[in-house]
């Protein structure tokens, strides 16, 4: 298994674990939802796994390129604080940096 695939598998396993612990009701992904290609840069697997657990990641590209660093930071904090996303501080930092660098202004 390549390092990238291994990381992806570990991320998926981590999310399933989180789902089991926190009681995710159901992941009602539409079977036909096409994959959305995020920019391949450090952090993109966390974004796919953790952000993508609750919503399709087209939300990210849709808002690009205008959000400032402060706006992306606020969006990630909103997902954690208001919407209860189970994201550890270190992962939140990686995700925020990924969004700022790849989809920010």
């Amino acid at each position: 298994m390549s390092p990238a695939r291994l990381r992806r598998a570990l991320t998926a396993a981590a999310i399933l674990g989180i789902a089991a612990i926190l009681g995710i009701a159901a992941v009602a992904a539409r079977a036909e939802e096409p994959p959305i290609a995020l920019k391949d840069a450090p952090g993109h697997e966390l974004v796919e796994g953790l952000c993508g657990a609750c919503h399709s990641v087209d939300y990210i590209q849709m808002n690009a390129p205008f959000p400032s660093a402060a706006t992306w930071d606020a969006e990630v904090k909103k997902m954690i604080n208001a919407f209860g996303a189970p994201i550890e501080p270190a992962d939140a930092k990686t995700i925020t940096e990924y969004l700022i660098k790849n989809y920010g202004s």
């Binding site: 995710i24 539409r30 096409p34 849709m62 808002n63 205008f66």
Partner: protein, 405 residues
Amino acid sequence: MDRRTFLAGIGAGGLAGLPLALRAADRLVLSDELSAGTRAEAVLDALPGKRPLIKLSYRPPNYETPLAYFAEPITPNDAFFVRYHLARIPETIDAQTWRLKLGGDAIETPGELSLDDLKRFEQVELTAVCQCSGNRRGLFNPHVPGVQWGVGAMGCARWKGVRLKDVLAKAGLRKEAVELVLDGADGAVLEKTPDFVKSLPIWKALDENVLIAFEMNGAPLPHFNGFPARLVVPGWTGTYWMKHLTRLDAVSKPFDGFWMKSAYRIPKGRFPVVDRFLSQETADNTPITEMVVNTLITSPLPGQKLAARQPTTVSGIAWDGGYGIQSVEVSSDDGASWQKATLGPDVGRFAFRSWSARLPLAKPGARVILAKATNRLGASQPRELIPNPAGYHHNLVARVAVTAS
């Protein structure tokens, strides 16, 4: 065949049976004011039971109606926009086992109603616009994060149902009722995410025009528009039009859920609106209520080439928070002079009002056509946006850039 190839196939003539105006809907027309990211991500895509609409997000599904459908003042059910906040949406709902629960501390007799029970109340039908509070958010400058809607997060339909006030009267409303809390069958993926629950001030819940609707344009509600029953709150933005209704709670204290106290708020006193939701107001902000007066130009299309030195027909629709459209004016000289449009049939004060005008395009070259509506209260459309944190109430004077030659 992947989906995009399939859609390209439709574009090559698969919709030949449709009226000419609607065939334009199979071409993706996006405003160049939308962000580059939105224009890259938006595609025509068909949800089950729907025609191809402009997909902004797959999960939860947020799909807007293409411009071509607004050439008519009634929006077809299968082209009506789709908006969800949270991604756990029932794939189907069985109308036979569906129940609407009535409760709360300000109701005399809690209970539940089947669809048949509901249909035994006096049935009424009215025509009304349902518009997302954030329609046109994608056109805000500076940019406001969120679903980057263009002009199509709205539609107008004939809604048939029963009066909410009749249902509340039968259950018995106590005099201390302040708000009616609304919940639907859709919910969040995570248990910790606040469920999409809203409330209405009790005076609005008792408005004779507020319906629990089960039909739209003579057919059952489409699944993605709230089957089997949804709230219809004419004049107010779509956030109160709860889909897949499951529960109504009359309560004696203001509801303090996330979707009331933190979301769907506008700065207080900045917008020319009449209806206020006083039990939810703070010192700074207040829930969004009624829609502001607005217009959409449906013809000519953006970028269309027109003949110079002869009149061109400009047409569109206008709507407001239910006071009714008084007049629509158009301009081809950046607002230096305005000409009155002819209004189409009045199908009710909550509906889209169609309008058209013959406008001279004097000189060849790039031209901008403007349109603005005025309602019966005298409110009109601004040339500058009123900034607000969530990007609501975009009702700038409508404009379309064309070329005359």
